[in-house]
Symmetry: C2
Subunit: 298 residues, 2 copies
């Protein structure tokens, strides 16, 4: 059963999330009413040995680190600031105390870097290592970013150069600073973090916003050794993908130019009518359909 | 590495949970400030195939059901009402669409019975089935129940007759009604749900409250076929274990007597000084130490 379809089914069955919930399934986080100024953001992402990492490749510390990082990335994509996590871990009998501690070293290290408190936990025996982190964060009401706000004619931007999900997925730094910078200064219409690939994740923005898109293949900023195919369909880069008006993006690029840092935001396409579908424009001008299925499926 | 010790280590490393958090690791839920009347309760519990269930024994629907029920039980033990869940699932390739749907049938059925909304989800490929539910609920400030409030001389009570964790762990109804009834009418000093066995879970109340206890073996209300050993050390019964003053418990029993229902609350012992340790008093008067290790360990 393919993942996107399964999520769609679950969402239909879940129905309307009800009073007090601004966003349920269909965004990186659920959004709950909190106080007069802020919303509460809530997400849960699970890492499974053999699917998201192999211990041999990763080492235990990096696995713990990534389990927190993917959750921070969900909070970042909504424009918010992470605050608390709970950690439910399934631990195989082969792991000794040193190995278990290394996992938690990674977890606590990442939390320390981002001012996050660990306030709940649960440990279980399991055949393979599973780490399921749930995260709570907060966002000022005006700075909430969702997937459903893209408008026709919006430019599509991505942070980058896009990291190589096959090689860097354990070490990536979630784009929290960038998301907070963007949500403070610019009118961003929609945002998502790229966990499954630019194509499926942009597909989610299109679906939620009721639009189509054009992506210019040559404009996707690839990091060294990353192929276009992997940028589009492999994912695990955890870059931010977002849309804003052309006028607003000019402001962003003027601001960028005055700084001395390497370029960090790249225009890769634009939002179009739904009827136009999701198109990838090759350098020679030929256009092909963007597939919305990513690498990972059930 | 033994589970209680691991949790203790994690807790030390987590440190003080900080402003805005009333309780972190060491209770069934984390407790966050919410509004002037209520606290937000937050827990996460994971079910792992082979550890908490076998598919052959359970059927997929019951597994989904239990994944939600154990989380509702955490909210109940704090005196609160569940409101929302997120579901992160690790799904093995052998499961077809019907099987996956059956898991979600169980999840949604349990949610419907308790007025809970599913507002977030994540699905992953995994070798064995893993369901990690995170739950948010709310509790009126005055009705919050914790593990650390037991007082010397408190009577120890348990709901029951204690269910058989080996046989009933898939079908149990979380003691939500009972917890809400108790937290509305009586001054309850401490409460926990029995997931690991009366002994280890009572051990947690003792540790959090800085006390010891005496449990009268003959007074533990066993359901049919349940052995004392399993009631004490196997767990998975998800009964509520709580403490209150003798005066307060008289009120409870007077109220109970006027009803026509079968008895549901049973006195099984009393809280004592820490120096007395945790003791099990056998019918012949001999006393032995209660072990605080449960059946499940890593």
């Amino acid at each position: 059963m393919e993942e996107l379809r399964l999520i769609e089914e679950i969402r239909k069955r879940a129905g309307s999330p009800g009073k007090g919930v601004r966003a349920g399934i269909g965004d990186d986080c659920a959004v709950l009413d909190y106080d007069s100024k802020k919303y509460l953001l809530w997400a849960a992402d699970m890492l499974v040995e053999g699917t998201h990492f192999s211990v041999k490749e990763a080492g235990y510390r990096k696995i713990g680190r990534k389990a927190v990082a993917v959750n921070i990335s969900d909070i970042a994509a909504m424009g918010g600031v992470p605050a608390y996590i709970t950690v439910a871990a399934g631990i195989p009998p082969r792991m000794d105390r040193t190995a278990v501690r290394a996992v938690y070293d990674g977890i606590f290290g990442m939390c320390k870097d981002h001012g996050i408190r660990v306030i709940g936990g649960d440990t279980n025996r399991s055949d393979s290592l599973v780490i399921s982190v749930s995260i709570i964060g907060f966002v000022e009401k005006k700075r909430l970013l969702r997937r459903n706000g893209a408008k026709e004619g919006d430019l599509i931007l991505v942070t980058g150069p896009v990291r190589d999900g096959r090689r860097d997925h354990l070490d990536f730094v979630p784009r929290l600073k960038e998301a907070r910078f963007l949500s403070a200064r610019y009118s961003i219409h929609s945002m998502i973090d790229v966990s499954d690939g630019i194509a499926p994740d942009l597909g989610r923005i299109c679906a939620e916003s009721g639009l189509g898109c054009k992506v210019y293949a040559g404009s996707i900023p690839l990091s060294r050794r990353l192929t276009l195919e992997d940028a589009l369909y492999y994912g695990e880069s955890f870059e931010l993908l977002f849309t804003m008006s052309a006028t607003e993006s000019r402001k962003l690029f003027l601001d960028m130019r005055s700084g001395r840092r390497a370029p960090l935001y790249f225009i890769i396409g634009e939002m179009s009518r739904k009827s136009g579908g999701l198109r990838l424009i090759r350098d020679e001008g030929r256009s092909v359909a963007l597939k919305t299925k990513g690498y990972r499926h059930l």
